[in-house]
């Protein structure tokens, strides 16, 4: 393998590993902040215990999110130096602003929160976790605006052989970025909701700390209900945005080869990338794809053959990831509705509780699959329509990247295993006695 492929693998691995931890951080920080606020306002000790129990899981999860995030920032320089030089003017400044405005805030106040239980006043202590929660979610906005520049570059001019900043407000208001923001955040909040429900379900099945975990379950349920519905509804608009700005990605998501009017939507498709067609297309809804993509049953949808073969994204991976994301995305709101209907009879519905326990990995899978659609679907471009990934890679020696890829994978696997072991251990152990 060459430097390009190794660097792509390394970046994919590092990003996907980072994103095991980030979504839970985004959602759980807010849930813990709500719990602590309830404790401060009512003085109810159960909420204090909830804050501590879920807060501990939050902190264990947070640390891997932080350390793996640092790797990502520096990988642009180490592995994608030509890209860094080309778009540093815009992309670099968004990362720098993220560090200055958000990363400092969350890291500083998390330290104060962890060590401040007996030092800060209860109100100040609760304010710290709110600052962590707000800063984490603000941080995501900057990162996604930076990513949006790769997806839908705006606000630049090509000058001196690179993309220079022309209009900062256009960069800040990039519609693609805000679509991604809403989509990613609702996905993350759904995940946090399911995390709460799943862990609570485990204890409810064992009939321990019933009151504690019923309250936790319901908080998670409300969160997941609202945001799983939002992510599904908004995902539709997001896909339309993709269709407008990145038609080749949309074609790959649906494995549509020929441009056609009244493009149908097939329920079962097996892409055959080599022969540029689908091996199987079954159960078509006439005009379905045209309607989903453009809001009209007749509007033509561009097929992959409109682009030369070397400008098409990998079809199979994009297509399957998209199906996985949408499939799970449809299942999650249904599970939430079931939970909502049985909310006052949780302990009498072990089937629901078991389903919720086993559903914990599902939002994770959907979110990872979603990022595969976003990033693999963008290929061969690193900045859509502007710069190809193959032109972005650093002029470095293959063996260096091979070494770092192997070492990073081993290190991540090891630390990930320890972290997940700790999460399991403390999730199973349950809260401290009242």
């Amino acid at each position: 393998m060459d430097v390009l492929m190794l660097s792509r693998l390394q970046f994919a691995m590092a990003t996907m590993f980072h994103f095991i931890f980030v979504p839970l951080t985004l959602g759980l920080s807010i849930l813990v902040a709500i719990m602590e606020t309830k404790y401060v306002r009512t003085g109810d000790e159960t909420y204090k215990r909830m804050t501590k129990f879920w807060g501990k899981l939050f902190v264990i999860n947070f640390v891997l999110g932080v350390v793996t995030g640092i790797t990502l920032e520096f990988q642009f320089g180490t592995n994608w130096s030509r890209y860094s030089e080309y778009v540093g003017d815009i992309f670099g400044s968004l990362l720098a602003i993220e560090a200055t405005t958000s990363f400092f805030l969350e890291s500083t106040f998390l330290g104060a929160w962890i060590f401040g239980w007996n030092i800060l006043s209860p109100k100040m202590h609760a304010a710290c976790i709110w600052l962590v929660a707000i800063a984490s979610n603000l941080s995501a906005a900057w990162i996604l605006l930076a990513n949006a520049f790769m997806q839908n570059p705006v606000g630049y001019v090509l000058r001196n052989g690179r993309a220079e900043l022309d209009n900062f407000f256009q960069v800040l208001l990039n519609p693609f970025g805000w679509q991604q923001y809403v989509h990613t955040l609702s996905g993350a909040f759904t995940l946090a909701g399911f995390f709460l429900m799943g862990v609570s379900a485990y204890h409810l099945l064992k009939k321990q700390n019933i009151d504690f975990f019923t309250r936790s379950f319901k908080m998670g349920m409300i969160f997941a209900l609202v945001f799983s519905a939002l992510v599904a509804l908004q995902g539709h608009h997001h896909a339309q945005e993709v269709g407008r700005t990145q038609p080749a990605k949309l074609a790959a998501m649906e494995s549509l080869w020929e441009t056609r009017e009244s493009a149908p939507m097939y329920l079962l498709v097996v892409p055959d990338e080599k022969n540029e067609k689908n091996a199987i297309e079954l159960f078509g809804i006439p005009g379905g794809l045209s309607f989903l993509a453009h809001g009209s049953f007749t509007t033509p949808v561009q097929g992959l053959k409109d682009w030369p073969a070397d400008e098409r994204p990998p079809v199979m991976l994009t297509f399957l990831s998209f199906r996985a994301m949408v499939g799970i995305g449809t299942l999650l709101p249904i599970l939430c509705i079931w939970a909502f209907l049985r909310r006052n009879k949780l302990t009498e519905t072990p089937r629901l509780l078991r389903a919720m326990l086993f559903a914990i990995p599902l939002p994770y899978l959907a979110i990872e699959a979603g990022w595969v659609v976003a990033e693999v679907g963008r290929q061969p471009w690193i900045v859509y329509g502007l710069m190809k990934t193959s032109d972005a890679v650093s002029p470095i020696v293959t063996s260096q990247v091979a070494f770092s890829l192997v070492a990073l994978t081993l290190l991540y696997a090891l630390l990930g295993a320890v972290d997940i072991y700790l999460l399991f251990k403390f999730a199973k152990k349950g809260p401290a006695e009242a």
Binding site: V67, S81, S84, G88, D89, F103
Partner: protein, 341 residues
């Protein structure tokens, strides 16, 4: 003009990072030497517990600002120093998780593993940052396209290694002083003793490094052209002398402040010597990455300057609040608290 302001800010951000993360990297390095018992080690970890994460963000910011203000320098520096940077990242990852994991399981074997994680994860960044910066001071083998023509061994030259040892020692002294301020009893006494022993070694090493700098680098050219600027060297020298005096008086916080001044002064002395290059080329001065050929557009530099001037003081304010709130000594009671390491 904007480029020069950014060059100085770039230097200042690195200096702040070395000052703040320097002492916790130093404490981490010293765990096997000063931490005789588990309680000692817990005091050491808790002395930096609330702070290390916020400190590390200064590195992210220094990196981010290099990316934003001087993209070409960021690209050349990070791809050229690929392997040391990866090692630095591994080390910082291991350090972070070690601090967070060690107190989660109550088993001596478990704790031993993460104690070593913290030590290696603290020692290696100090060493690597020293090696990297010394090599930058000396000049990197950059060709006309800014491509690094060397490998890890190129960097491990006498001057690079001297820089590495210097950083390790500076951070160790800085960490020792922070620990004397944050601890009591035996551990405090051991740390105080170490500070006294480290001082002459540090003086000697700084002396050797300055001589090597005159031999290996062109850093002094700027100073010889404007001898008035040599005042900048007076700051670290003065800090070093006063530091010994404060150690003698057992004024630990002041001594730590002087150690911070020493680190910042040495960093800025080096950085100003580089000007106007960010990464001088050892192959030909024409290939150097300078503020002129690496800077972002005027628009980006202006916007970033606005953001920095507004937010860095805010960050400084709340980090100052954090330090003030958690400035007490680590006691038994402190170790028994929630969240203690």
């Amino acid at each position: 003009m904007l480029e020069t302001i950014w060059f100085l800010l770039w230097g200042v951000l690195w200096a702040v990072y070395f000052v703040l993360d320097g002492y916790d990297l130093g404490i981490g390095t010293l765990v096997p030497f000063l931490g005789k018992s588990d309680t000692d080690r817990r005091v050491m970890f808790n002395a930096m517990g609330p702070f290390w994460d916020g400190n590390e963000v200064w590195l992210i910011t220094a990196g981010g600002v290099t990316f934003a203000a001087f993209p070409k320098a960021y690209a050349v520096m990070f791809s050229g120093l690929y392997t040391p940077l990866m090692l630095l990242l591994f080390a910082l990852i291991v350090r972070g998780v070690s601090l967070e994991f060690r107190h989660q399981v109550d088993s001596p074997a478990w704790r031993r593993v993460w104690d070593w994680g913290a030590t290696i994860g603290s020692f290696l960044p100090a060493l690597l940052l020293g090696v990297a910066f010394a090599n930058i001071f000396m000049g990197l083998p950059l060709d006309e396209n800014g491509v690094f023509q060397g490998n890890l061994l190129t960097l491990l030259n006498p001057y690079g290694l001297a820089g590495g040892v210097l950083f390790v020692l500076l951070f160790a002294m800085h960490g020792t002083l922070w620990l004397t301020f944050k601890s009591e009893g035996d551990l405090h006494q051991r740390a105080a003793g170490l500070a006294r022993k480290l001082w002459p070694v540090l003086v000697a090493l700084i002396g050797v490094f300055v001589v090597l700098t005159a031999i290996y680098t062109n850093l002094l050219v700027n100073y010889l052209l404007n001898p008035l600027m040599l005042v900048l060297l007076a700051i670290p020298v003065l800090a070093l002398i006063l530091m010994r005096q404060q150690i003698g008086k057992e004024q630990w916080l002041t001594a730590w402040g002087l150690s911070a001044t020493l680190i910042a002064g040495l960093t800025l002395f080096g950085v100003v010597g580089l000007y106007p290059a960010l990464l001088p080329s050892s192959i030909s001065p024409d290939y150097s990455i300078t503020i002129a050929n690496a800077a972002s557009s005027t628009l980006t530099l202006s916007i970033m300057l606005g953001v920095t001037l507004v937010f860095i003081p805010i960050v400084a304010a709340y980090q100052f609040w954090l330090y003030r709130t958690f400035s007490h000594k680590i006691t038994e009671k402190e170790l028994a608290q929630d969240g203690a390491y």
